[in-house]
Amino acid sequence: MNSTGELMAQKPAATVPPDTVTFPLTIRAGVDISGPVIYLTDKNNLTVEGYLSADLNEKRSLYLGGGYSNYKYSQYNYSYVTNGFFIKAGVDFNLMKPQTAKGKYWAGVGLHYGLSSFSYEIPELSHDNYWGTTTASLPTQSLWSHFIEASPGFRAQFFGNVTIGWSISLRKMIYSGGGKDIRPIYIPGYGLAASSFSAGINYYIIWNFRYKTIKVLIKKEQPEEPEEETTPSTNTNTNTNTGSGNMQNPEP
């Protein structure tokens, strides 16, 4: 009974009380192994890449990556040489539930901004037409390019503090730095510049350094409510048999 003397009907518990799990926040240092592996099969393409990330909470991490790329290409009518550095910064989002991830697993997506500083050169190019073969070369040019990147991926604890994982990189060029006629065909950190969209894949070995443990509030899954046999009345003056107080009759 409340202060006005009305009866309070007992309500079934709407939610299960929340619970918490312990979640370790870590700083990660990852090294990409796909670049050196590709280099073993293609000596004209070397990319060395790594990253650092720090958990802000169980869902978000700050990301800072970077690397170096040296790319050479030649075919019957030209050759191309480029090398340069790139950095990427952004946020990684873990889409797994904390009680599933437990700080050991990560499945999510990173959103990064990339900046590439590089130089390229065309040591020789040739073109054949009616008048014969014309040859030329283009001197070294230094450029800046920038792009954005979405990188969904997965990581799992391998042993101890070591995690392995991979991510797909889907990149959208913002500015390639090249002109209409002479432009780079490969941009370190971005890849082939023929399109405003590029894709790649990275495999990482990651070292984790736990720096803090937090308790994360989780909601337990609610059990399914049994179907009610009768439809409850919405009349607030409906009498119940649970109380022994005075019953109020409706106003005439």
């Binding site: 290409y73 075919q75 019957y76 009518n77 030209y78 797994m96 599933t100 499945a107 065309i122 190019l125 073109h127 037409n129 009616y130 008048w131 014969g132 014309t134 030329a136 283009l138 969904p152 991926g153 997965f154 991979w166 797909i168 006629d181 002479i182 432009r183 065909i185 890849g191 082939l192 023929a194 894709a199 790649g200 894949i201």
Partner: protein, 155 residues
């Protein structure tokens, strides 16, 4: 957990597809020569008209003709010499000879990774004899691989 497993499988498959795509070597199917496109107009009507016969070759290259007594040709594709700032052509329209000269600048242009580079031109001026040709004019001085008329030859 089942939904996570499905997402992981989907991402792995996507990764392999992207890897396979990235390893595919391309080929060049594009036009790689920037021709000067010369449209032929009958001066008396002012309409684009093919002459009964047209022959064309570079000056000093009599043995290598670009067109040899070609019929029904309304637009000639004329290759410019990228290693020089000018070149001349002998043009024979309906058995009458003329000489056509062009002055231009040349610059390299990247077509694509697979096609490599070609040379584009900017036409500075044209000149011709007037045995059969009445007049010539430049309609677009940028000579590229795009199919756009560059000059008009009135005969």
């Amino acid at each position: 957990m089942r939904s996570i497993r499905n997402v992981i499988i989907a991402l792995i498959l996507t990764g392999f597809l992207l890897l396979a795509y990235s390893c595919t070597t391309g080929a060049c199917f594009d036009e790689t020569t920037a021709y000067m496109k010369a449209s032929l107009f009958l001066n008396s009507t002012g309409k684009q008209t093919a002459p009964d016969s047209l022959s064309l070759w570079g000056a000093g290259m009599d043995t290598s003709k670009i067109y040899n007594a070609q019929k029904s040709l309304k637009q000639a594709l004329v290759p410019l010499d990228a290693s020089s700032g000018s070149c001349s052509f002998i043009i024979k329209i309906n058995e009458v000879y003329d000489t056509l000269s062009a002055w231009y600048s040349t610059y390299p242009h990247l077509l694509s990774k697979d096609c490599g580079y070609t040379f584009y031109h900017n036409i500075d001026s044209l000149n011709s004899t007037n045995h059969k040709i009445v007049k010539i004019s430049i309609t677009k001085n940028s000579v590229t691989t795009i199919s756009e008329e560059n000059i008009r030859i009135y005969y």
